[in-house]
Symmetry: C2
Subunit: 212 residues, 2 copies
DNA sequence: CTGAAAGCTGACCATACGGTCAGGATGCAA
DNA sequence: TTGCATCCTGACCGTATGGTCAGCTTTCAG
């Protein structure tokens, strides 16, 4: 039990408990959805009494909001890949890699995000109308420039972005289906690499950025 | 009220009520998830007393199961497009069209399906391990043959299928996000057509079935 | 016409859930 | 050491939900 439970500093206590709660919440929300998740389940998974959750997060909604915002941050970070790039090959490759890595490392977060959007984004509507829209518009502009410069075919930038989101996110959200079709086993390192390579090749070739 | 409520035949009553319930359930399950959906909400939307739902569907689980199986049927029908085709251009085009049409006409069903899979397919696991697996294996074989016949590049058939599923399903599951980024308006006929064309062009070009 | 089967429903119940709170334990600054 | 702020939690509460049921109405075969 109290093997290495030397006295913790207040700061640490707070940080660690919040972290444990958020991690547990992410998993439970991903597996059961907002409505199906219970504070008790989250508490058990976090190894804390239920009342303690309410000490850190007043309501279920507030906890959920924190989880969703967390994943949105991660999501946005991957977005930077686009900016540093000099052309579609760099940019889109890096973006696909980054988003696939998120799908692999944060499948629960991805599912929560998907769930949130599917249910009409009750929490994230504001972000979608501001941050996300701005980000998208910016990337559309970049892609448009690449097209003008003859670096790729004239593909509708928005639909291209949707395709990138869809394809990469799919490996998290539908991971269970993919796993089932993979003989019940999670994708291996090699299979993940192949997935990435396939996606990159098809899309980059498809938009005329790579020679056919 | 009772304007055209001439006596109904028993059969009709049963069929119509079940239909109304399933339709309402599909919508509520899509919007709230299984856990967030309530029988009361479904009953209200179907215009029936709650107790009446339980007359037709004993439990919430049973109702949910029916909804999920319904959408799976529709999903499988689109699958036939693949078989009649003589090559990737026909087959994949038709499949994309069919799946996009499902995303457009049955967004709620698509969301329920996505939700089901995201939560580990508690209801559909059997189908996934039998019907879906067989279907997938069959299509993989077809694609493999197309590759052998030189009708397309050697792309991993499974990842190609995932890409098709992901890209088309995205327009239903993330419809709210797309709508928000589209200025809060649903995609027009024309935009749907453009979406389809873009997807088809990028993928068919990407796999080397169309000249770059 | 009649009786039985099918369809319907308001009222009810047990449970589970989100949330509260009083009061105890613990760290930490002075 | 002391006092206080933070941290913790068992016990509790009101409500909403899935589900039941007794008894009503409607259809329809014979």
């Amino acid at each position: 039990m109290a093997e290495s439970t030397r006295p913790m500093r207040r700061q640490d206590i707070r940080r660690e408990n919040e972290k444990a709660i958020l991690l547990a919440a992410e998993k439970v929300f991903a597996e059961a959805g907002f409505g199906g998740a219970t504070m008790q389940l989250i508490a058990d998974l976090a190894g804390l009494p239920k009342a303690n959750l309410h000490y850190y997060f007043a309501t279920k909604e507030e906890l959920y909001r924190s989880v969703v915002q967390n994943i949105f941050e991660i999501w946005l970070q991957a977005a930077n890949c686009f900016d540093a790039a000099r052309g579609p090959i760099d940019g889109i490759s890096a973006y696909i890699d980054a988003k696939m890595e998120i799908s692999r490392r944060h499948p629960d977060g991805s599912k929560v995000w998907a769930s949130e959007v599917m249910h009409g984004a009750p929490v994230l509507q504001d972000y979608m109308e501001s941050t996300l829209r701005e980000w998208t518009d910016g990337r559309v502009e970049i892609i448009r420039r690449w097209i003008e410069e003859g670096k790729m075919d004239p593909v509708d930038p928005r639909h291209l972005l949707y395709m990138l989101w869809a394809t990469t996110q799919h490996y998290a959200d539908f991971g269970h289906q993919i796993e089932t079709l993979n003989g019940g086993k999670a994708l291996s390192d090699r299979q993940w690499r192949e997935a990435k390579e396939n996606i990159k090749r098809v899309i980059l070739t498809g938009i005329g950025a790579l020679p056919a």
